[in-house]
């Protein structure tokens, strides 16, 4: 049985800090510092989880921070690894993936049908009959997956921090600490990270009784802790490796994104399980797992162990475990024990029975607990049965090399070591220690120091590189620690319940490369991402292919190395939000502020329901006067002798005839003739233009214009004035009356005709006024310094009070412009729309010598296949047609609605739709399929819906100043 041991020299638990927690509804005691698995083992709870597919009982396997054998949920967090989760006082845990609890999991019966659930079962079984697929899908989705996400869990925001340093050392074990010591000999900035709560790595569990090693560890840790130039990050794992040595370290309080000049990988190895029948029984675990349990948490994982040996480490561990009182029933050595040097002799001298050249044939259980193993000799003879309550496996290692692959290192299988080792590292990265195939403790120290010396030379603080110790020449892994059994249940991948047979079948069905086998069998695709499965998978595939392991290849591990909670990636969810100079007003007036790109814009000023607010704002503009904040428009000023050539190249229209102080509507397309952006261009002088761009695309237009100028060598200065200039649109029949009270500009239609621009004082501020009519009423778009934004806005509201002025929002503006048939780019156009399709052909001057999109538009002009039309319908406005509803013609899609609203002017629902060319005649009836799958008839109508002759742009009074 498992139990807590007397105090161990390096233990991480606090004996005097008892706590209690709940697992699967039962209360247990633990100690501060315990992880869930160790605390459960202290209570002799060896069955801690159920497996993914067959719901077999499972316990600790690797206990190396990636043990996906035991995943639990705390209620708020799920799929938490029990070898990482520190128990907290009063917290309650449940195993994931059970039906009716861990002990009585009803789904365990699935394993009785394992014989009829071959690899690829889902692919083979559930694709027919087709009509049943929705049922199968629901069933599979219920059975698949692990923990359930609690969507009502409190949202905890964590911070992401950037950390720039000279050297980053990943891994605080023997080699990593040696590297850190070397780095501290120079005055450089070092970050060392380890995923464990304490630095030390194998110092703590492989060298626990080696006093000189402990002294080395303590000295380096003291040095690190007293250093001002080193940052020590425990409980931080390196999640991935990205360009130029940037490594996100995921810690309990968020991600520390390290950008280092050099990176030293001292990530060590993943111990690999042996594959034999029932190797997943709780109580069967890796030797290093047992050692970590003993030395970090003072847990004896069992009382009577069989050690399965494929290397020296197994013997060393057996001797160590004996010291703390675990009986070693036998060491079963996969090979000849005299290759193990002195260790075999010591073990024998300590009275341990050694069974050479043999493997475990089968582990057996009674009442769910491991009771014995039976032995099979390598020549196939069935051997004795040995009673035990624990099997400790040490048969081989795989590099913790995920980050290396991501960095671009090349790794190869070394047949001497029987291990994958790095053979080349990209510039600025180094690896050290057992990861590098250096096993001897003193060599590991030298290797870490040498890697650091090379890194220091690389960043220029040291001129000489130290000599690297040679790789170990004795294998520490067994080439084939796999013992297939006629009755199966020899698990290769514990996450996915994959047996040897599954891989064999996959291979026979033609999935004969590592990448194909992985995807078909799902080996390595579970939560531990193959850390304890892939190496054995490769060995099995090599055997099947009759190839050397080196020739089989490996799958590429991609980020992340451990599962990263989504909240860590989200961080504080900081994103830019731009407010206009009039924001305070919008806020105070209870505006419905919505994000439009990066900007916050008032949709409507909600007094009452949004719909009545929009209608009220609409009526105000149509009948009196309103103002809308359009500071979000892109505002670009261009100066220089080549302004006209630049604009002629960037936009489709011609600017030559545009007189000074006049404006025109402009739009640009890309090389394929697709509409990109629109706005207004105002000519201020021959070599001076002021143009606007759409709110969400302004920065892109500045970028594009600058690129064109640079590409063609135009002499133009392009100034992005978007944030310097506030803008508002004063619109409505009484807008001239209101404006005249505040300005010295002569507003008479003789002096200030439609589409003109005038400069002057408005409310005491130097401003530009543009007479443009997006909303279809007499109006002035007024641009002025942003610092005066609120003041000018307020002055207009006050000046217009008698005229009934008020602010209107984006929603009312959308309705107003829709009646006028004006487009909104990005709503009535999309990433495929050309000017001819939206009736903007008049703005394309194909005769210009050169402009962006000329060649495409020349080709597209005669190929018009669809066109934007207006439509009107008497259908009930409450049964609203919505944007993106489809036009259906003869059972097929013939277009879609791009804008739609109830028009108070037409007293009917109006809209715009992009439809096939054959359906564009006025009077044509279109069928719109609405959300409830019924159709609504609409009629193609002439546009605009409102004021087709632009009469509203007339200033009725000859002198508005008098009228005012």
């Amino acid at each position: 049985m498992a139990k807590r041991l007397p105090p161990q020299p390096n233990e991480w638990i606090k004996r005097d800090r008892r706590l209690s927690f709940v697992f699967e509804g039962e209360r247990y005691d633990g100690l501060e510092g315990d992880v869930l698995s160790s605390a459960l083992l202290a209570n002799d709870v060896v069955v801690q989880a159920r497996s993914f597919k067959y719901h077999r009982p499972r316990g600790v396997l690797s206990f190396a921070n990636h043990d996906a054998n035991v995943l639990v949920t705390t209620g708020d967090r799920t799929n938490v690894r029990a070898d990482v989760e520190q128990v907290a006082q009063g917290r309650s845990y449940r195993a994931v993936n059970t039906y009716g609890g861990l002990r009585f999991d009803v789904a365990r019966v699935i394993q009785l049908f394992a014989r009829v659930l071959p690899v690829g079962f889902y692919y083979k079984a559930f694709y027919r009959p087709r009509f049943l697929f929705p049922l199968w899908e629901r069933l599979i989705r219920t059975m698949a997956g692990l923990g359930k996400v609690n969507t009502t869990a409190p949202c905890v925001r964590v911070t992401r921090r950037n950390r720039f340093c000279d050297v980053l050392i990943i891994g605080g074990g023997v080699a990593g600490l040696a590297a850190a010591k070397q780095c501290l000999s120079e005055s450089i900035d070092v970050v060392i990270a380890d995923e464990n709560p304490r630095m030390g790595g194998s110092f703590d569990y492989l060298h626990a009784y080696d006093e000189s090693a402990q002294a080395v560890k303590t000295a380096i840790l003291d040095l690190l802790n007293s250093s001002n130039s080193a940052e020590v990050l425990t409980q931080h794992f390196a999640a991935g490796f990205y360009a130029d040595n940037s490594v996100p370290l995921v810690g309990p309080n968020g991600i520390v994104h390290v950008h280092a000049k050099a990176v030293i990988f001292a990530t060590g190895l993943y111990e690999q399980p042996a594959v034999f029948r029932n190797n997943d029984l709780p109580g069967v675990m890796l030797v290093s797992a047992a050692q970590r349990l003993v030395h970090r948490y003072a847990i004896a994982p069992c009382a009577n162990a069989v050690v399965l040996a494929g290397n020296n480490e197994a013997y060393a561990a057996a001797i160590d475990l004996q010291k703390i009182g675990v009986r070693i029933a036998a060491i079963v050595d996969l090979a000849e024990p005299n290759s193990r040097g002195d260790l075999a002799a010591t073990a024998m001298a300590n009275g341990i029975q050694i069974i050479p050249n043999a493997s475990i044939d089968e582990a057996r259980s009674r009442n769910g607990r491991l009771v014995a193993v039976s032995i099979r000799s390598n020549d196939g003879k069935q051997g004795q049965s040995i009673e035990c309550d624990g099997v400790l496996m040490s048969v081989g290692w795989a590099p913790a090399g995920g980050l290396l692959y991501q960095a671009g290192a090349r790794l190869e299988y070394d047949p001497t070591l029987e291990q994958v080792v790095p053979v080349s590292m990209p510039a600025g990265t180094y690896c050290a220690g057992r990861l590098n195939g250096v096993f001897d403790y003193l060599d590991q120290i030298d290797d870490g120091a040498a890697a650091a010396a090379a890194a220091l030379a690389d960043i220029g603080v040291r001129s000489d590189a130290a000599e690297r110790p040679a790789r170990t020449v004795q294998p520490h892994s067994h080439p084939y620690p796999i013992t297939p059994h006629a009755k199966g249940k020899e698990f290769v991948d514990f996450d996915e319940d994959l047996q040897v047979k599954d891989l064999t079948v996959a291979y026979r069905e033609g999935f004969d490369s590592v990448e194909l086998m992985k995807r078909y069998s799902t080996i390595g695709m579970g939560p531990s991402q193959g850390k304890t499965a892939n190496m054995n998978g490769v060995r099995i595939l090599g055997q099947l292919q009759d190839k050397a392991v080196a020739a089989v290849g490996v799958t590429t591990p991609r980020p992340f190395t451990h599962p990263v909670p989504m909240g860590m990636l989200a961080g504080r969810r900081l994103r830019r939000q731009w407010c206009t100079p009039m924001h305070e007003y919008h806020h105070a007036e209870n505006a419905d502020l919505q994000e439009a790109g990066t900007w916050l814009r008032p949709m409507s000023y909600t007094r009452g329901s949004p719909r009545t607010a929009i209608e009220r704002e609409y009526q105000m503009v149509r009948e009196q006067v309103g103002i809308i904040d359009v500071s979000t428009l892109g505002k670009i000023e261009l100066f220089g002798p080549d302004v006209i050539p630049l604009l002629e190249y960037a936009y489709t229209c011609s600017f030559e005839k545009l007189k000074p102080h006049m404006t025109r509507y402009i739009f640009m397309v890309d090389g394929s003739g697709t509409l990109v952006d629109d706005g207004v261009a105002a000519r201020l002088a021959d070599d001076h233009f002021y143009i606007t761009a759409t709110s969400s695309h302004a920065q892109a237009v500045v970028r594009q214009l600058q690129q064109y100028a640079d590409q063609l060598g135009f002499n133009v200065a392009i100034v992005d004035r978007t944030f310097q200039v506030a803008a508002l649109n004063l619109a409505g029949p009484r807008s001239a009356d209101v404006l005249s009270k505040l300005t010295d500009i002569d507003l008479s239609s003789e002096n200030f005709p439609y589409l003109a621009l005038r400069e002057g004082q408005i409310a005491g501020v130097q401003a530009r006024a543009l007479r443009v009519g997006f909303v279809g009423e007499l109006g002035y778009e007024i641009h002025f310094p942003a610092s005066h934004g609120a003041a000018v806005w307020q002055a207009l509201l006050e000046a217009g009070a008698a005229a009934g002025i008020g602010a209107f929002g984006v929603e009312a503006q959308r309705l107003l412009r829709l009646e006028k048939g004006h487009l909104i780019f990005g709503q009535d156009t999309d990433g495929t729309t050309n000017p001819y399709e939206v009736n903007l052909g008049w703005g394309v001057r194909l005769s210009k010598e050169q402009f962006v999109g000329k060649h495409s538009l020349t080709k597209l002009k005669p190929m018009l296949k669809r066109r934007l039309v207006g439509f009107v319908t008497d259908a009930d406005p409450d049964r609203l047609i919505q944007e993106c509803h489809l036009i259906i013609e003869q059972g097929g899609i013939a277009g879609r609605v791009t804008s739609v609203a109830y028009s108070p002017h037409r007293k009917a629902v109006i809209g715009l739709a992009m439809v096939d060319s054959s359906l564009t005649e006025a009077g044509q009836t279109l069928s719109v399929r609405v959300s409830d799958a019924t159709t609504v008839a609409v009629t193609v109508a002439d546009m605009p819906f409102y004021d087709p002759d632009n009469e509203r742009q007339q200033i009725n009074s000859s002198d508005p100043r008098q009228a005012a």
Binding site: D244, H259, Y649, G671, S672, Q707, Q711, N715, D720, Q850
Partner: protein, 85 residues
Amino acid sequence: MKYIDFPTLGRRPSSEFVVGGIIDPEPAELDGISPGEWVFNRDSIPMRRTEWWYHTPTQLWFLVERHTATDEVFGATLAGAAIDG
């Protein structure tokens, strides 16, 4: 994060940039190729080539010489610098 040395800017993270690719200006005449070919058929052979990179905070375009397979950067120059004088 990738860091690149730029003239006038110094060492900057790639996140501050918009990559504009290798696009050439649209010529007045297409020499015997269709518009579709000019727009869509891009030579994407991995190689060392010059790309347009736009630095968003300063609104400056740079020409960056980069190997598109290895992501190695060989240098950057300010675009349009030639016409400043």
